[in-house]
Amino acid sequence: MQEELINLRNEAIAQISSVENTADLEEIRVAYLGRSGKFTLLVKKITDTPSEKRKEFGITLNESKNTLERLISDKKQEMIKSISEKRDWFDLTMPGSKLDLGHLHPLTKVLKEVKQIFNFLGYQVADGPEIESDYFNFEALNIPKDHPSRDTQMTFYVDTKGTDLKPSETILRTQTSAMQGRVMEKMKPPFRVLAPGRNFRYEQVDASHGFEFWQVEGFVVDKNIHLTDLFGTINYVLKELFGKEIKTRFATTNFPFVEPGVDTYMQCTICKGKGCSFCKNTGWSEIMPAGMIHPNVLKNAGIDAAKWNGFAFAIGLSRIVNLRYQIKDLRTLTTPDMRILSQF
């Protein structure tokens, strides 16, 4: 028995040392040490061994199994090592197979970022009509008919023939601020609202003006909102969008729906403040008109202006996109030329 065991072991060792690949090695392992391998079967024969030789047989058997396992494991490591060393020359510079992916529009990308920033600050997104009433676009915002500030928002009038809409009261909205009255008259404060969208103004088209453009209106109404909160919010948002290094500054301005009124200037990202055609050589770009909501706007919507106050701002989204990607002509955004689109 003992002799048979030793022969078997030698036979196995010989095979292990001459094996050439890992698959054959695995076969050898199964043949000797597997569930019905030769050594496994020998264990069952231990009962055939005379009792005085059983102990010796047992020890030899265990030693042999251990030896074989170790040899197999060593052999395997050695083979893997030699395979990885022996690898053929391979050209890693080969390009990947081409996948024809399309491109998202830069307005989509930037708006997504803007929404994320404001979601983090607790704003919810609202979407409202572009064919709007004069009331929500102007009057609810403390801009009565015949107010001179309407000059800066020349308006397109919609032909209402064939509909129940009121003629001369139906317009294309000139500002997303039209959403202020709509939300305020339907909900009690507090709220934080972001209303992105397309606006229309009667303007002749040039590099920095279009009659269709995108804005993001934001407004907050709560119990204790301060001008410092507005400044802080604007700074936070612009730094998130353009990086911590950007410089902003605020100026007084007038819109009938805010008091105090604020205009935000950001250092021109195109010329880094040196002055260029985009910023009209001032080094600064007017980017975000804002202000504390005028008490009349709250009153018009039935909100108690003694108890609640708030701020509002409008981000020129088209302008942000232009500053972000250093696009000098606003018309680029509405020109679906693949030489433009494929850059995004």
């Binding site: 410092t228 105090p260 008490p295």
Partner: protein
Amino acid sequence: MWKMTEAGLTCEATKKVGDEVILDVEVTANRPDWMSILGVAREVAAIQGIKIKELKIKEIPAATANFPIDLIPNFDLFERWSAVVIKDVTIKPSPKWLQERITSMGHSPINNIIDITNYVMYELGIPMHAFDYDEISGQIMTLEKAGGGESFTSVDGESYKLPEGAMIIKDAERIIDLAGIKGGQNSGIKNSTKNVLLHVTIDNPVLVRRASIAMGLRSDASAIYERGPDKGGTVNSLKRAVGLILELAGGEIASKVIDFKKEKFEPKNINLTFDKLKRILGIEIPESEILKILSSLNLYPKKIKDGVVCTVPTYRGDIKIEEDLAEEVARLYGYNKFPTTLPVGQVTEEKIPYFFDDSLILKIKDLLVSCGYSEAKNLSLVSKALVDKFETDPKDYFKLINPVSLEYEYLRVSLIPSLVTNIKLNPLDVLKLFEIDKVYLKTSRGANEKYRVAGISTGKNFRDFKTAIDIILSKLNIENYSIEFEVNKKYLHQSVAGVIKSSSHIIGEFGEISPIVLSAMEISGKVYCFEMDMETLEKLSYTKLFSSIPLNPPQIEDITLVLPPKTRVGEVMKAIKNSESKIKNLELKDIYKDSYTFRVWYQDSSKNLTDADVKSIRDRILTLLKSKFGTSLKD
């Protein structure tokens, strides 16, 4: 310059002329006082903490004659009307200094009287006008609103038809002035003028604005009137102009000073409490600083219990409420000195009205990008020509009354026409573009603005185009849809177009753009397109629940069928899938002539399918397909 801009008087350029500086300022709609040299000087003085040199304005001398003049006031039209007659003036060119000032303000000097009226308007901020007294027929001036259509010739010789509601001054016979906008030629100052009626008026801002817009006549005077100039300042302006006339044109006062006014027009008191100021601004500005700022603006603050009471001069008609005073303090304190904070307050759990979740839009955009489509942003306004070329009915569109040009007159009802137009910008073999945005559907009740997703593909391969539709629908888990071939869109090819429906919902249309449309657009080749309604997609999409991996593996095989001509492979596939629940998946692998190879997954969750089981399912399907479509198995 920046300090002025910071304080609200935007100043982007300055120019030195001799010893003087010309500031190019942008005046907001609330500040008529800034439309004058005095107003700008007051502002700069407040910013710099200095005092302005007050103009020494002389009283009007006593009249040496009594020329009759009868002004008939109407306070709805002129809230204030101040006037005086001067006799025996000498009309001649202005002296050099006055000519230079008129020129530097962008006007041409005319004669001493007219130059003085213009100059004092710019100096003090209230428009005024000089009439040839002897041309005022009947020595009477009546204020009226034009009925519309009257002829009027202005001092500069231009003829106009007056719009209804324009304010006019009539003498005994005729219209002699278009109030707030332009004087009449008939009563204007001529070289022969001897006697002058000078008046300073506060005109109804709305009527001035309407008439000047209707006539396309915007002047500095109308811009000042629209903003509402200093109602307390008319007599002072009159004094200033009279003083200059007597100095530069000679003459003597020939009437008493007439001053009709609706009310007294005196300074108003407005309170500002420190608590309110702090609530609005978010910072506590020292009391002494608040008082200093308000004083520098001539608001005469007086300390009261919790704040100050200001006496607001009549030239600051824009200051009406406490918030306005808060702005005055804040802007001169300096916006850029404020610390910044973020709002402390509640974030509501309630959904806001008009709440909008664009996650599906973004998801579809990403899917389309991965299908090779690029995102276009087109204008919402399209031309009548495009409406016509796509054989759509202009009556179904909202249109603008005042478009910037005929290129941009109609609000689009589909995203496809613009996308097809974009092909001309992109002369490529394969162009795939998409857009997700609103269309504006016209209904009798009003506008129905709906988000749509649309795409076009110029590639010749239909299956390559169709991938996008399949992927959108499958990723949204919209499986039970059908395609119908009755399409009521004339811009789609009659025989290559379908409507995608799910139960009663119409999801959208797809197909080939009609060759007639393409030829009108001068586009060659084929264009495939699709357009789907976002709201319907959102309604039909749902989150599929997880199903555990079946324990029994599927049996997979390829079957090649020969389809008779004009057999719709989509219907064949639907029939296969619907015939047997054990068919877990089905794909079209290949098409060669009339042979279609399908890959079929057979699977039963309760047991391992044997070859015999699969054969029996396959036989059943083949029999069914044979009877329904006349297909046969390819050997």
